[in-house]
């Protein structure tokens, strides 16, 4: 049974057919790339999978469970972590607290616990902090734990987004252009990071990316979207030499 199974989803906005018949199956430890021209509907796929938009048609199964019509926060709790193309961090919270927020839904104390000084609560807070610091360390932000994200540069904020998504302890991680705004060296580091995450944490990763050096190096399978449709899917090598993909997306020139 695949960890994430997306079956024939459709989504349109008014006249814009953003997704037409998209399917994917991703297993533990796999990294799937999704590429395609701008406006092809890649982000929309993520938005549908993570429950921001309801799908017009089709089904999304996470670890065998139908999550198509579930509420967004429940989908996340089922094990769906994501980052945003336009960074969306929580202003007013420190870097650590940003990640803590993603841990909180799993933290095991309720309203009484949050109003009273129960030992349980402190234990849980401590556990959460340790977990979060672990993820921050993973993305290299451990020394920025008390910083304000709005004071950080673009690249650091991207990393924080990843750390926050990891804190959701996802089974499936959706990364929407994580390398945007990184320089090639940093992209190299990110490549390492994603590979390590995939190895150590063993989730399935869906990766939208325009930086081919990243996506081509780490994906097992790449799906190419154009005008909402999947025009090709296969190994990086296959995709790269597909004439349709070259015409629609890659262009003649090598990157």
């Amino acid at each position: 049974m695949a960890l994430l199974k997306v079956e024939h989803i459709y989504k349109s906005f008014g006249g814009v057919k953003a997704i037409q018949d998209f399917s994917i199956e991703a297993n533990r430890g796999e990294i799937h790339g999704i590429i395609g021209p701008n406006g092809a509907g890649k982000t929309t796929i993520f938005n549908v999978i993570s429950g921001i938009y309801p799908a017009d048609e089709g089904k999304v199964l996470l670890d065998g469970k139908d999550i198509t019509r579930m509420e967004q926060h429940l989908i996340s709790r089922e094990g769906m972590g994501r980052t945003f193309q336009n960074i969306r961090l929580f202003k007013g919270l420190s870097v650590l607290d940003n990640t803590m927020c993603a841990f909180d839904p799993r933290s095991r104390y309720g309203v009484p616990g949050s109003l009273l000084p129960l030992p349980k609560r402190y234990a849980e807070e401590k556990r959460g902090r340790e977990i979060c610091m672990g993820y921050l360390k993973m993305v290299g932000l451990e020394s920025y734990a008390q910083e304000k994200p709005e004071n950080m540069s673009y690249g650091y904020r991207r990393r924080l987004e990843i750390a926050r998504a990891l804190t959701c302890e996802p089974k499936v991680l959706l990364l929407d252009e994580p390398a945007a705004g990184l320089n090639p060296v940093e992209v190299g580091e990110l490549t390492e990071l994603i590979l390590r995450l995939s190895r150590e944490l063993g989730f399935a990763i869906l990766l939208i990316e325009h930086r081919l050096e990243l996506v081509m190096n780490i994906s097992q399978i790449i799906h190419v979207q154009n005008f909402g449709k999947t025009i090709a899917s296969g190994t990086p090598g296959q995709v790269r030499s597909d004439p349709g993909v070259i015409e629609a997306y890659l262009g003649k020139e090598e990157c």
């Binding site: 982000t43 993520f46 938005n47 921001i52 938009y53 945003f84 193309q85 336009n86």
Partner: protein, 290 residues
């Protein structure tokens, strides 16, 4: 016949609310905050209109002009003392809330200081009400209706079609970026305040004509708020439709269940409305895109 009369009364009431809610919505539209000082501004300019023009025996038009001019100027001053720095700092909405409420207190305080807490009555500007086939329509209601219709149309045209209007709208989304387009953000905001102030003055005078002038006259602005929620926050056509609807609903409620429970039912209607159609009547709903 009775029912028709109630509808007429409702529309008359709605036109006053519309004048209030358009001025309020304009600022909401541009700056995305509820300007709670709008009410006190209405009072302030209505009183100025009274003392500058009406009390000297001048007619309706000079009174309106004086009030509108005062409204604009005072709104401009208000923008400077209460909002300028917050706008520059790009801070959270609570600042606007606090600033505008405080500014309202200030305006009201000044009015009380100058005129005491007494109430005043504008001279009769209008003749006897018109009687038409058993229906009674007061002349001031007709004039108010025409003026609010006119103002709305002009305003909508300016906002939608002109260069200035576009600039205003872009400022309403992202001030920094708007300034990168060569727009003088401060000017644009001042412009919005001037217009909204003039509307406040106009509304103030008509409220005064209908309901006498007193320092807390501005609390009628609450009706404008409710109207703009019903119509869709920040939408100018919505503000007018909402106001008319509120006027008619209120008169209907008053004539059926009486005035006592009317606010309760108005509230319940608003609640149901928000459940069924959260964006209001004319509010657009852009689905947020991640």
């Amino acid at each position: 016949m009775q029912i028709l009369q109630y509808v007429i009364n409702g529309i008359a009431l709605g036109s006053v609310y519309a004048l209030i809610s358009t001025g309020f919505s304009l600022i909401f539209n541009v700056l995305k905050f509820s300007n709670f000082s709008h009410g006190a501004l209405m009072t302030f300019s209505a009183f100025t209109g009274y003392f500058v023009a009406a009390a000297n025996g001048w007619g309706l038009v000079p009174t309106i002009l004086a009030a509108a001019a005062t409204g604009s100027l005072v709104a401009l001053a208000g923008e400077f003392v209460a909002f300028r720095r917050i706008l520059i700092r790009n801070t959270s909405p609570i600042y606007f809330f606090v600033s505008s409420i405080t500014l309202g207190t200030l305006f009201e305080g000044i009015v009380v200081l100058q005129v005491g807490a007494n109430f005043y009555n504008y001279p009769r500007f209008f003749g006897k009400p018109l009687k038409l086939a058993g229906l009674v329509i007061s002349q001031s209601d007709i004039i108010i209706f025409c003026i609010s219709a006119f103002v709305l149309v002009v305003l909508a045209l300016v906002i939608q079609k002109t260069r200035l209007g576009r600039a205003l709208r872009s400022v309403s989304f992202d001030r920094d970026t708007a300034s990168l387009m060569g727009i003088d953000v401060t000017r644009s905001i001042q412009f919005a305040f001037i217009i909204s102030g003039a509307l406040a003055g106009l509304a103030g005078v008509f409220l005064g004509i209908n309901y006498t002038l007193y320092p807390t006259l501005g609390s009628l602005v609450v009706k404008g708020f409710i109207a703009s929620v019903i119509g869709g926050l920040g939408s100018l056509p919505g503000a007018v439709i909402g106001a008319m609807l509120l006027g008619i609903v209120e008169t209907t409620l008053i004539s059926t269940i009486g005035s006592g429970y009317a606010p309760v039912f108005t509230f319940l209607i608003m609640l149901v409305f928000l459940l069924v159609r959260p964006r209001g009547i004319a509010g657009s709903n852009i689905q947020e895109k991640a």
